[in-house]
Symmetry: C2
Subunit: 304 residues, 2 copies
């Protein structure tokens, strides 16, 4: 465990600034895409700044949240890997975002960076960083997948050469729907429980991940958002969004943590798509682009 006291204020400043920069970057694509802000406070201390966009523009629904919540008892979903911390006081702060574009050729993207500190009242508080970003396309473009993962490599650089392969694998393992035997998307990077080698290095890495989200996503959003599409592509997007709902509600540890810790439901479930469909035993035509997404993109694969 680290011996330097965690500089929580510096992390908070970074996170709030990151939220500003990401919203600004996303608003730069279409004039009608404007985030609205809701600030809220949490019963047990802390609060958040939820920013949501839902309009007629390029982004059908998007949310970029900052939150900083405190609690007396760390909930179970946060302590699977550190059972000795169950029941301790905690602080959690982070930026979490999900962008659901309207055009089915643009992927849904998700990013999250966070710090958790437990036992601040003790002499030896425990802290760790977590986060990452991952992408969920509805149609496969190798160029986009390569760009996304190349940017993930760049994001990992502050932690050394082995960070990308480690966190890429963690992402593949995490964003997996066991009950469907499917990857959620093409992955990216995912890390958690990071407290090595020290606070400053871990924090610098978290910043690098946060800073690389826009460079990873914006070029893809820009080049695909104007592509023509029809009912077939829209229906497929809505159907695949159903998987997104399944992942977030059945599997995602962050969502469970939020709901278990009495978090703000509307902010937590802001990640859900604006519209999603379910069809019984639907299978795309062999040889179709839809089928190619499943067989060539939603599988564990090296993209570089």
């Amino acid at each position: 465990m680290a011996n330097k006291a965690p500089d929580i204020a510096a992390v908070k400043d970074y996170l709030m600034d990151l939220q500003d920069r990401i919203c600004l970057g996303l608003e730069g694509i279409a004039e009608s895409d404007r985030f609205e802000e809701d600030t809220w406070s949490h019963d047990s201390g802390g609060g958040g700044r939820t920013r949501v966009l839902a309009g007629d523009g390029v982004i059908e629904k998007g949310g970029v949240n900052f939150s900083h919540v405190m609690g007396d008892k760390l909930p179970a979903a946060a302590t699977q890997m550190r059972p000795e911390l169950a029941g301790k006081s905690f602080q959690a702060m982070g930026v979490s975002l999900v962008i659901h574009p309207r055009n089915p050729y643009v992927p849904t993207s998700h990013a999250n960076v966070r710090l958790l500190v437990a036992g601040m009242e003790t002499e030896d508080p425990v802290w760790w960083f977590g986060g990452g970003f991952d992408m969920t396309p509805y149609y496969g473009f190798e160029e986009d997948a390569r760009h996304w993962h190349k940017t993930a490599v760049a994001a990992c650089r502050p932690l050394g050469e082995d960070a990308y392969p480690r966190y890429k694998k963690w992402c593949d393992d995490y964003f997996f729907l066991k009950h469907r035997n499917e990857q959620r998307g093409i992955g990216g990077i995912f890390f958690d429980d990071l407290n090595e080698p020290d606070f400053d290095t871990s924090f610098a890495f978290m910043q690098s991940v946060g800073d690389h989200y826009l460079p990873a996503f914006l070029p893809i959003l820009k080049r695909r958002q104007g592509l023509k599409h029809g009912k077939v592509e829209r229906d497929w997007q809505l159907y695949r969004r159903g998987r997104y709902v399944e992942f977030n509600l059945v599997i995602d540890r962050g969502t469970l943590f939020g709901l278990q810790s009495g978090g703000r439901t509307e902010s937590i479930l802001m990640s859900l798509p604006p519209l999603a469909s379910w069809k019984y035993c639907f299978t795309p035509e062999p040889g179709s682009e839809e089928e190619r997404l499943l067989s060539e993109f939603l599988v564990v694969r090296e993209w570089l």
Copy 2:
């Protein structure tokens, strides 16, 4: 515990016949509403008969499933109330159905009857029945709610006068979205772990519940399915269906049991609506019919 060996074959016969009768009854409303059947077998033994309807008729999506699955190890979701049975061999059989009508004035309805037997290889197998039916309206009609609950009272008669209030309360307690502080619908009846006073009485009660689903739902479906509606009502229905998804994926023990026990995902998630939406912090207009649903119907209330 009961001392008569459970007559599994008789229960199975009843359940398969019930599935036939319910499908036939629902198909009687509109000529275009026709169920399609899928039979499947389960890796660890048993299988099922899934019947799904998804067309242009009165029912937008509906599923009426029979399944009979066996397993070596009873999954956690089934043993919360009987931890001593964790890991025992089991058989589960049941009929489970969800009907999502197209017209927003018709409620979604759900019914389920089931038998679980654990430790069949031992001298003293443990068995219990469970089930019930509940209704989730998008617009409130007191007449419908009263009819639904009156039929529930009739269904409970074989078990005595106190069965309805007991199982009505259980239903209200169960179909509750804690993270929304909302009832899922207007309730109905819900029972589980029933093995008293004996197998025959419990089985007779389960049959009564199964037999009363159609008389409870068909009159409501018939009288509301032709009501005129527009985009406002449709949007509200899609939005409220989002809550249905949240309940089934986050809370429902049956769904978790199915997914944990390696059940057939397409049959389990057949309960999800054909189309659902999520909007950030959406609140209906004060005084509207939509607001009246929340304040007067989706609350714990005595209907008789």
